[in-house]
């Protein structure tokens, strides 16, 4: 279809504006800095603009259009009321530096979210400032770093990360200046306590780990791992991307973690928006709380004359004592936090039920796939990514047998699924599972959808390799050449098209 620069229609602007408050002729400008040539932007009228973006959207797949079993990404339904709330002027049209008495509603919501997140994770304090999971990781690692500097343990310059960890874990730790120590997983995809023990000493600042892990398995040795790390004086960091599996059933606090980030956009359904925005608050145990970025929201008794939103309670910003400072200039993604607040309110303490259904759906789908595969006689073409009885909210399959037997890769299966109207599972992650497909249905998919997907998945697995290599054929474009993209970098509209 057209790109923006194909539009040459509207002379003048596609969007008329009111006259300036003062005629241009009366203004004085910094003449030496005046722009010589206007940016060579396209010219679209509103009709063209609306049609262009409508049609772009129609070439995009979202949860709203179909099942989106993208493992590790928790693509759940986004309740629509949340978008209504997020467009109220009481959130859109407020400035983070307005006085506290202008923002009591926002502060109350922040306070409720800090409390709820702390309760769910078994932590003592929460900041909502980080705007994504990775920034949460980085923030927590920075807090740990300052905590140790404060204690005179500056020699702790290394962080342990399992080989199955998400790439953001080592990247975040490295950005903060830590050296990464990668530990291998056991054959069944879990923590290798011996390997862990082997790398532990007093240069270790922390271990970063997610549980259920990236294979969807609960780390049964988690308490032991915590003990080992704490034993050498290190901190335990919980990557909360998989929090959707466990709320109300266990908590990072119970497992011995000292710090955790939340992927609100996953667990609490801030829409992922084609890549973001997200929100990545962190929670910490009391000893790390003084290091949190500020300000956080606190509450005190209201004073006479203060117009409160909750009887007798006055919400206010508070700067943690040894704060690391800021990771985002304002208060984080307040609009995302608000949507997640609305999501939380929809469940309340039944967040536990939400997690149960996430796990129920994942296990059900896993069983259904294996069952259908057996019926169809294609069960020899894939294996579980890790042996287990129950999975948590997601599970992995390895297409290695198919690759060896018929030359069909995980990517081929993914493309075959696109042809049937599904988003593909996560492919080739975690790296420890060869030809990995990582499937996370979330709690908002109906049993009928899961049943149908199981059938369709098995049908794809049983499709002849040639057809799969040629897939997809029903999508707006056929298989996209990523190598060509990298070899012939075209990152913006070429000069000749202007």
């Amino acid at each position: 279809m057209n790109n923006l620069w194909d539009f040459t229609g509207a002379k003048g602007s596609g969007y008329a504006q009111p006259a300036p408050l003062v005629p241009e002729s009366e203004l004085t400008f910094a003449t030496s800095l005046l722009r010589k040539d206007a940016p060579r932007w396209p010219r679209l009228s509103e009709p063209e603009m609306v049609r262009h973006y409508t049609n772009l959207s129609r070439r995009n797949f979202g949860i709203d259009t179909g099942f989106y079993p993208l493992g590790s990404c928790t693509m759940k339904h986004n309740p629509r009321v949340n978008e209504v709330i997020a467009q109220m002027p009481g959130i859109c049209d407020i400035h983070p530096h307005q006085p506290e008495h202008h923002l009591q509603g926002l502060l109350a919501i922040f306070h409720e979210m800090q409390h709820m997140l702390a309760v769910c994770a078994g932590m003592d304090a929460v900041t909502l400032q980080p705007v994504a999971g990775a920034q949460g990781e980085f923030t927590a690692v920075r807090c740990i770093q300052e905590y140790f500097r404060e204690r005179g343990e500056a020699q702790r310059t290394r962080i342990v990360v399992p080989d199955s960890a998400h790439g953001t874990n080592p990247a975040s730790a490295a950005m903060a200046g830590f050296e990464i120590v990668e530990v291998p997983s056991t054959e069944d995809g879990r923590i290798d306590l011996q390997a862990l023990e082997a790398v532990l000493d007093d240069t270790i600042a922390a271990m970063m780990i997610t549980n259920p892990n990236t294979l969807g398995l609960f780390e049964t040795d988690i308490a032991a791992a915590s003990e080992l790390v704490h034993g050498v004086g290190g901190q335990m960091y919980y990557d909360g991307a998989n929090f959707n599996a466990i709320i109300g059933r266990t908590s990072p606090g119970l497992m011995g973690f000292d710090a955790v980030h939340y992927n609100l956009h996953k667990t609490f359904s801030q829409p992922h928006g084609g890549g973001g925005p997200g929100s990545g608050p962190i929670g910490v145990k009391a000893h790390l709380a003084p290091f949190l970025p500020g300000p956080v929201v606190d509450v005190r008794e209201a004073e006479e004359g203060e117009r409160t939103v909750e009887l007798g309670r006055w919400f206010h910003w508070r700067e943690p004592e040894h704060s690391i400072g800021k990771v985002q200039q304002w208060h984080g993604n307040a609009g995302a936090v608000l949507r997640c607040w609305a999501f939380y309110r929809r469940y309340g303490r039944d967040l536990r039920t939400m997690s149960e259904h996430a796990v129920l759906n994942a296990n059900y789908l896993r069983h259904a796939i294996h069952h259908e595969a057996k019926e169809a006689g294609v069960d020899h073409l894939f294996v579980d990514g890790a042996r287990t009885d129950v999975a948590k909210h997601e599970f992995t399959l390895s297409m290695q047998p198919a690759k060896e037997a018929v030359g069909v890769t995980a990517m081929d299966i993914a493309k075959g699924l696109l042809d049937l109207g599904y988003m593909a599972p996560t492919v080739y992650f975690p790296l420890v599972v060869p030809e990995c497909l990582m499937i996370e249905p979330t709690e908002t998919e109906a049993k009928d959808t899961l049943d149908q997907f199981a059938k369709d998945f098995v049908a794809v697995v049983g499709t002849d390799p040639a057809t799969l290599h040629a897939a997809p054929v029903t999508t707006p474009v056929r298989r996209v050449d990523e190598v060509y993209a990298a070899r012939n970098l075209c990152l913006r509209v070429p000069e000749e098209d202007l």
Binding site: L21, P39, M49, G105, C120, A174, G274, I324, W330, L338
Partner: protein, 456 residues
């Protein structure tokens, strides 16, 4: 009752299909000693209607700037996002998609982001722009680590970066957090009394890894001397400029006066202030920096049938491939907000963006004229040209002024005392395209009354 779970009422059926008797069976792998055995000590579930009612009550207790005569900005700007933008961006295909890992079914977002890159590239005058980062501050921070990666070897001042002393402490703090681990030393670039960069200080920065300045600077001042910076610092020092993108409708693209990297807060294009987030950061650079850039980037390519197609590219910089050697930890970013920016820019077009910049300039002009007549108010940099905002010296603390003017329904600006102890009597007054004449009148009247009182 929770109404978001399609399989409520079918739990038993689904469990028994798997040979399980209860939900507990699915959590049998959670060791007993880490199990949570009681209900979460949280409130019960609410219905949509109750949530809306509570949201109305709580958000209704906030004070939207639209209900006052408001002159606060300081990095976030009131704007008007065209109606079409909201209606298009909330289409489920955009709103509920994630990172376009499967390019074949994500051409819409990929193309929109490729177009966004082109719009930004043209706006700032640099050939490469990524599809945005978290916000303007992390963009600034990541531009510095990027520059250090590029120039680390050849720099004579190894690991040293010079940053305009005008950079507000909150942004400075973000930069500090992002850079401290890389052994980067941040030094201050000094400004002269008239607010412009001190050429001597710029000269000192030659041979460092980077200089970071903002145009207009955080007090709204436009600095003509920036056009000479690149010549002074030389080839092996990255010249990084932080911008207010709206100003580029009128003022020169930094890429056209030597900037190697341009960053900024994209918010005025496409996004309401939203209490400071979600917004999006702009990141553009010259080719030399491309492979050390943070964040995602979309390339135009072809599909199997040689049709035009788009996909993520240059991924080997990123954490999911390069892990701890990645150029950044960025994963979830601000794509949707950048998309809003692209939509807004596409409606504006070249004439519209100039128009928007002129409206901003005109509004500030009107404010300056109005405050000029107020006894007791002085401009901190009276000889300079400003955009969007201007620092004024008051006869008393800015905090008092803000408090006093509330009774008149006026929020006169940002208390510069929050940035610097030297500036407790200074106010940063912001005007944008949304500022209305009657608001300016109210500001001037209320300010005059307050000044008279303070002076008396």
């Amino acid at each position: 009752m929770v109404d978001q779970l399609p399989n409520r009422g079918r739990e038993a059926e689904m469990l028994s299909a798997m040979g399980y008797a209860s939900m507990d069976d699915l959590f049998s792998d959670v060791p007993v000693d880490v199990r949570m055995n009681e209900d979460l000590p949280l409130r019960g579930p609410q219905t949509e209607e109750e949530i809306i009612a509570d949201a109305r009550r709580l958000l209704g207790a906030n004070v939207p700037l639209g209900t006052m005569a408001s002159f606060i900005g300081a990095g976030l700007y009131r704007n008007h996002v065209p109606a079409a933008v909201f209606q298009l961006v909330t289409r489920g295909e955009f709103l509920t998609a994630y990172t376009p890992y499967q390019a074949e079914v994500s051409q819409g977002m990929l193309q929109a982001m490729w177009e966004f890159q082109g719009l930004i590239s043209e706006l700032v005058g640099l050939p490469v722009a990524n599809l945005s980062v978290y916000d303007g501050s992390s963009a600034a921070a990541e531009s510095i680590t990027c520059a250090v990666r590029v120039h680390g070897r050849k720099a004579t001042q190894k690991g040293v970066v010079y940053i305009s002393e005008m950079v507000p402490p909150d942004r400075w703090s973000v930069i500090h957090n992002y850079t401290q681990g890389g052994g980067i030393e941040l030094r201050k670039l000094r400004h002269l009394a008239d607010g412009t960069l001190d050429p001597a200080s710029v000269a000192e920065a030659a041979g460092s890894c980077a200089v970071y300045v903002e145009q207009p600077n955080p007090l709204g001042l436009l600095d003509g001397s920036l056009t000479g910076v690149k010549d002074i610092v030389g080839e092996h020092t990255a010249f990084i400029v932080g911008v207010n993108p709206v100003s580029l409708g009128l003022y020169e693209a930094p890429g056209h006066y030597g900037a190697d990297i341009v960053v900024g807060e994209g918010q005025p294009f496409g996004s309401p202030m939203t209490a400071g987030g979600p917004i999006y950061g702009i990141f553009a650079c010259s080719k030399a920096y491309m492979r050390q850039m943070p964040g995602r980037i979309v390339g135009r390519t072809i599909d199997e049938d040689e049709q035009t197609a788009y996909c993520l590219t240059l991924s080997t910089r990123e954490q999911h491939i390069r892990r701890h050697r990645a150029t950044s930890n960025l994963c979830t970013n601000e794509t949707l907000i950048a998309l809003m920016g692209a939509m807004h820019m596409s409606l504006l077009g070249p004439e519209g963006v100039r128009n928007l910049a002129v409206r901003n300039a005109a509004a500030l002009h009107a404010v300056v004229q109005a405050l000029n007549g107020v006894d007791g108010v002085e401009f901190v940099h009276p000889s300079g040209h400003h955009f969007n905002e201007i620092a004024v010296q008051l006869p008393g603390p800015a905090a008092d002024c803000i408090e006093a003017l509330e009774a008149h329904g006026v929020l006169p600006g940002f208390d510069l005392g929050r940035w610097s102890e030297d500036r407790t009597n200074q106010l940063l007054v912001t005007a944008t395209d949304q500022t209305r004449p009657e608001e300016i009148e109210r500001l001037a009247t209320a300010m005059a009354a307050w000044c008279a009182e303070v002076v008396a």
